[in-house]
């Protein structure tokens, strides 16, 4: 494996849009976590081992709220449940990837998934190395962005008040994207109702879990309306 292979060069070319997105968003994450006074290796560790944008942003809130480990586990699963079906369309592609398979699965972010499912297999490329380079390059952009954000955040003094809104903005954008894919208002109404209910009835630290559980119950009550698209 050298860096001059056709597989690496093609992966580099294909991943350029992700480079733009991940370095900027990773930068924002690095900046945010530094503004809460967490050490650089916490940010780095998260981008290496968790490697999931929305969840990492959200984690900052989990830490400051001192959320319990079980709550963190359940919330993390449901925040990323959309990923749990990505693999279905990649079962075939990943079949012959052997030792690289665990890393390919680990690195299956929204963007990597999108690239892997849209690119056509090139006969001249050894696909397992090509997939590996693509996945690893994407993660390297994310890590580089994170570290640049950490460095910038700890060297440049500026007022970060309000920076945490980036998280809200991220979810607003993701919600709009979800609407575009489904064109159904029912899930948003369910989400809003259970959120307001949990604000009223439970303390803020248990709000997320309470809302998730009530939302699942709500989904079955309104099953027909959800499926009528």
């Amino acid at each position: 494996m050298t860096f001059y292979t056709k597989e690496f060069q093609t992966a580099l070319k294909v991943s350029i849009p992700v480079m733009m997105g991940y370095s900027v968003l990773g930068f924002a994450f690095g900046l945010l976590i530094t503004s809460f006074n967490y050490a650089w290796y916490v940010a780095l560790g998260m981008s290496i081992f968790i490697y999931a944008g929305a969840l990492q942003f959200l984690a900052v809130g989990f830490f400051t709220a001192k959320l319990g480990l079980v709550d963190i586990f359940i919330a993390s699963i449901f925040v990323n449940i959309r990923q749990s079906f990505y693999g279905l369309s990649l079962l075939k592609k990943f079949k012959k990837t052997e030792k690289l398979k665990p890393y390919l699965i680990f690195g299956l972010t929204d963007e990597t998934y999108a690239l892997l499912t849209t690119i056509k297999d090139n006969e001249q490329l050894k696909s397992k190395y090509y997939y590996f380079y693509l996945t690893a390059l994407n993660q390297s952009y994310w890590i580089t962005g994170t570290m640049l954000g950490v460095i910038f955040g700890s060297m440049v003094e500026f007022n970060t008040k309000g920076l945490e809104f980036s998280l809200t903005a991220l979810f607003v954008v993701l919600a709009i994207e979800q609407y575009k894919a489904n064109k159904n208002f029912t899930p948003f109404i369910i989400g809003a109702c259970v959120s307001i209910l949990s604000f009223i009835f439970v303390p803020i630290n248990s709000m997320l879990i309470f809302a998730i559980v009530s939302a699942i119950i709500g989904m079955f009550i309104f099953k027909k309306r959800l499926e009528n698209v």
């Binding site: 984690a59 990323n80 099953k223």
Partner: protein, 107 residues
């Protein structure tokens, strides 16, 4: 959180995140997933995004002035930008800077 608790939390999130990604490879490489799992996975994402918007606003007190108007205004700006330009970096960055200006310079 102590540093030890922090590392535990990161480990738990890493495991949870990897579980969602490895799930279909473990269980459905030979058979189709059951309907109920498909139903939850298809319909839950827009619900959780809505919940997370509320959750991130959890510390805002809507009963005292300015009654969350800065947040609502910034959400509106973010959403509008996203519908208009369809570029998530533009929407997130301009939306956040807009909010930062509101909370830092306007009482």
């Amino acid at each position: 959180m102590s540093e030890y608790e922090l590392f535990l939390a990161i480990a738990v999130m890493s495991i949870a995140n990897f579980s969602t990604r490895v799930f279909p490879f473990l269980f459905f490489s030979k058979k189709e997933p059951p309907k109920i799992i498909k139903f939850i996975a298809n319909n839950f994402p827009p619900i959780i995004m809505t919940i997370l918007i509320f959750y991130t606003l959890g510390k805002i007190d809507f009963t005292i002035a300015p009654y969350g108007t800065k947040e609502l205004l910034s959400i509106f700006v973010t959403g509008l930008l996203h519908i208009k330009f369809n570029n998530y970096l533009v929407s997130i960055f301009v939306g956040t800077i807009f909010y930062m200006i509101l909370v830092q310079f306007i009482v």
